[in-house]
């Protein structure tokens, strides 16, 4: 569509080039910065409009903007453009996961055993229910049913963090949602690493990779996270607490962790989550505990959600796939709410229900996890991993995206 619009301009431009030698070739692709700012403006406008008119969280607007302008609908954001913007989305996801990790305080669980019970009883049924649905109802192979459960069992940390921030939410319901989200994300990441091995075993019959790759993912992420957290704390200790310089150090080390993870083909979301958790747990002197990320990181978050929206494969929608996806979401929702209703933990039942609703979002991390696995095996048709995102007939989109990913096949 865009080509049709720009073809007269291109013709005119090329005509001018014959006389104006300084003119560069007609730009076939948008510059990264131009694309970044366009996505930002479009996402912001749609998000603000939805917020003002319908009172919806802005994040829905960002995703809708991506969907509308992405390859599935209008096609103004091309697949190539999505690949181009992927580093920004990685950085955004990384910073959000860092925040989720920093908010994880395992010491709370030692003071509240009921909460630990509630968390475990939410994670286990979520995985089991989704697995059984994908395997028994949809008819996926067990390995892929497990993969689908691994990427969808967790709540969406980025969405939850964004909504909590946007609504200035505080109190026990918020605390519970944040903890459940962080722990279910951690559990999901571990299962995800195991699934990577299972995928190798199933599709390559390569047992060396089946064993070493999950270890590479987990140990690699842990090592990068630990080193970067250590570096951040060492440098930040030389600076005044909550100073702007400390903010820069936090962001810089986080981006260094993102870059290193990308170079070593280790998942960014896992690395940054671990870095945040290590910072939270090891910062005994509270060197960086009070230092918040700058407001600007929400700009990156907008890009993240626009990219997620644009990456959803709506063009492959069929009623059967739609029903299966809805079925999965219902099973997942029931499992989470029922687990919370059954669990104790010192929170009144109505508020536990609210927690159950609060941990429903499913978004960016799962999409990225699915892409990571798809990057390994782009040839897999009708993969179970796409089930939650309207199952696709092929992985062509993620495979092309993965061309810029260190996980690329």
């Amino acid at each position: 569509m865009l080509n049709d619009i720009f073809s007269p301009v291109r013709a005119a431009w090329e005509g001018l080039q014959e006389r104006l030698f300084f003119l560069p070739p007609f730009p076939d692709e948008l510059d990264s910065l131009a694309l970044f700012s366009m996505l930002l403006v479009v996402g912001l406008l749609v998000g603000e409009w939805l917020r003002a008119r319908l009172g919806w969280p802005k994040v829905i607007g960002y995703v809708l903007a991506g969907t509308l302008f992405g390859p599935s609908v209008l096609g103004w954001i091309s697949i190539e453009a999505l690949a181009q913007i992927r580093p920004m989305a990685d950085a955004a996801l990384g910073l959000l996961m860092l925040e989720i990790g920093r908010g994880l305080d395992l010491r709370w669980l030692s003071h509240n055993r009921g909460l630990l019970r509630a968390t475990l009883s939410e994670i286990t049924p979520s995985f089991t229910a989704i697995f059984l649905f994908a395997w028994g109802v949809v008819g996926l192979m067990p390995a892929w049913a497990a993969a689908a459960a691994a990427v969808t069992m967790a709540s969406a940390p980025a969405v939850v963090l964004l909504i909590v921030e946007e609504s200035s939410a505080q109190g026990q319901v918020t605390e519970w949602i944040m903890l459940h989200t962080a722990l279910s994300a951690a559990a999901s990441f571990v299962v995800f690493a195991v699934v990577v091995g299972v995928v190798h075993a199933e599709y390559s019959d390569d047992w060396l990779n089946a064993v070493v790759h999950p270890l590479w993912v987990l140990v690699g992420a842990l090592m990068i996270a630990w080193l970067m957290a250590l570096l951040a704390l060492l440098v930040a200790a030389l600076l005044p607490k909550r100073s702007l310089a400390q903010v820069f150090i936090l962001v810089a080390t986080a981006l260094l962790a993102v870059g290193t993870a990308r170079m070593l083909a280790v998942p960014v979301f896992l690395t940054l989550f671990l870095m945040g958790a290590i910072l939270s747990f090891s910062d005994q002197e509270r060197t960086l505990s009070y230092t918040n990320l700058p407001e600007g990181h929400w700009l990156l978050a907008i890009i993240l959600f626009v990219v997620v929206g644009a990456s959803l494969p709506w063009q492959d929608f069929t009623w059967l796939i739609g029903l299966q996806a809805i079925g999965l979401l219902i099973v997942r929702a029931v499992a989470k709410v029922a687990a919370l209703a059954w669990a104790g933990g010192g929170l009144a039942a109505p508020k536990r229900m609210l927690v159950g609703i609060g941990i429903q979002p499913l978004s960016a991390t799962a999409v990225f996890m699915a892409y990571e696995i798809a990057g390994l095996y782009p040839e897999i048709g009708r993969s179970s991993l796409s089930l939650p995102f309207l199952r696709r007939p092929s992985w062509s989109l993620p495979a092309r995206l993965s061309a810029v990913s260190p996980w690329g096949a």
Binding site: H111, V173, R242, Y290, L347
Partner: protein, 363 residues
């Protein structure tokens, strides 16, 4: 008491959830909501001995600290939170809180300050009114000894107790007028009611006021101390002073004292022990520290009779060492250069962790 996020030690909204989830049978007194969700009110049972008050406070502290830990929040004393943003506060559910918010607007949120109220039982309404007047000149001493609010909005206010400036904004704050007995008080209050100024005695935010529901006089000027030990010591001071006043029945010149009351209150809030107190009878200024030490010396006999000498000795030691909660907070800030860390240490101090003055209590 202040309810805090354990992540950054800013105030957090947790009061309603805390009370809803609390497994506490009321054996040490009440734990209840205050005006905003970041505050919690505790009150001991009525006790004849200060040791009983101290035991209740320790029990309440234990109940609060353990439940707060279960709710992933922290709790501490102090008259103000050093760096919270009042606009982020949320009014607690309840008709009375709603009514206060609608009547006073943003002042209700800015009223997220923390005070210790001390009730002393009286035998009659007349005695309560007399005691209200008699305690008036001692208000600066209570302010200085309890001062624990040097920081507001992340800034050192240079005050020892900045909390009372938030209270001063309310139209019915200040001092009880020169009333002679219960009948005059009823007449005065009926006048306020007829003018539509006050609906109940709760609307009177006087520094010292009668509390007929309890049969007490209530001293309302103290900041919430950082430790339960100092809170008990202040109760000991109040009890000993009231006994002394009832025993000696000094002649009162309330009207003259009212002329200087606001000035003296300012001196205590601003300078603490270094304040200069105007004496409207002797027509001179006297250092607050000197008045306080003389008072503690005078109260020795009454304190002994009431079995609370050790608690007063703690206050005496505090005066001698020029150590107040406000100076402790400033000292921690000088070391950490981070108010987050100052509040974190205040939570540890409230829990009685780490060495602090007045942390041990009387032996």
């Amino acid at each position: 008491m202040q309810l805090l996020s354990v992540r950054d030690f800013d105030l957090t909204r947790g009061a309603t959830d805390l009370l809803d989830s609390m497994d506490y049978d009321g054996r040490f007194g009440e734990i209840k909501l205050e005006i905003t969700e970041s505050m919690i009110e505790v009150s001991t049972l009525p006790r004849t001995l200060v040791d009983g008050i101290a035991a209740d406070l320790v029990g309440l502290r234990q109940a609060l600290v353990s439940q707060c830990a279960r709710n992933h929040i922290a709790v501490c004393g102090g008259g103000t939170h050093p760096f919270h943003r009042w606009a982020e506060r949320r009014i607690c559910p309840g008709d009375r809180f709603d009514e206060i918010y609608h009547r006073y607007g943003y002042l209700a949120k800015q009223f997220t300050v923390f005070g210790q109220h001390i009730h002393v039982g009286c035998t009659s309404g007349d005695e309560a009114i007399w005691m209200t007047q008699a305690l008036g000149p001692y208000v600066p001493i209570f302010i200085a000894l309890s001062a624990s609010s040097p920081f507001i909005d992340g800034e050192d206010t240079l005050f020892q107790s900045a909390r009372l400036n938030a209270v001063s904004a309310f139209p019915l704050s200040g001092q009880c007028p020169a009333l002679r007995d219960w009948a005059e008080f009823i007449e005065h209050f009926s006048f306020l009611q007829a003018c539509g100024i006050a609906r109940s005695i709760k609307d009177l935010y006087w520094d010292v006021r009668p509390k007929p529901e309890f049969g007490t006089v209530e001293i309302r000027v103290c900041d919430t101390p950082l430790t339960v030990e100092r809170a008990a010591a202040l109760a000991a001071l109040a009890q000993s002073l009231v006994r002394h006043l009832l025993r000696t029945r000094p002649a009162l010149d309330t009207q003259r004292h009212l002329y200087v009351a606001r000035y003296n209150k300012f001196q205590a809030c601003r300078y603490g022990f270094d304040g200069q107190i105007s004496d409207p009878i002797g027509l001179q200024q006297v250092p607050l520290r000197q008045i306080a030490r003389e008072l503690l010396a005078v109260l020795v006999e009454d304190a002994r009779e009431l079995g609370c000498s050790a608690w007063l000795q703690l206050l005496d030691a505090s005066l001698a060492g020029e150590i107040s909660d406000a100076s402790w907070l400033r000292g921690r800030q000088a070391i950490h250069r981070s108010l987050n860390d100052v509040v974190r240490e205040a939570t540890m101090r409230f829990r009685n962790k780490g060495s602090t003055h007045l942390a041990e209590g009387p032996q």
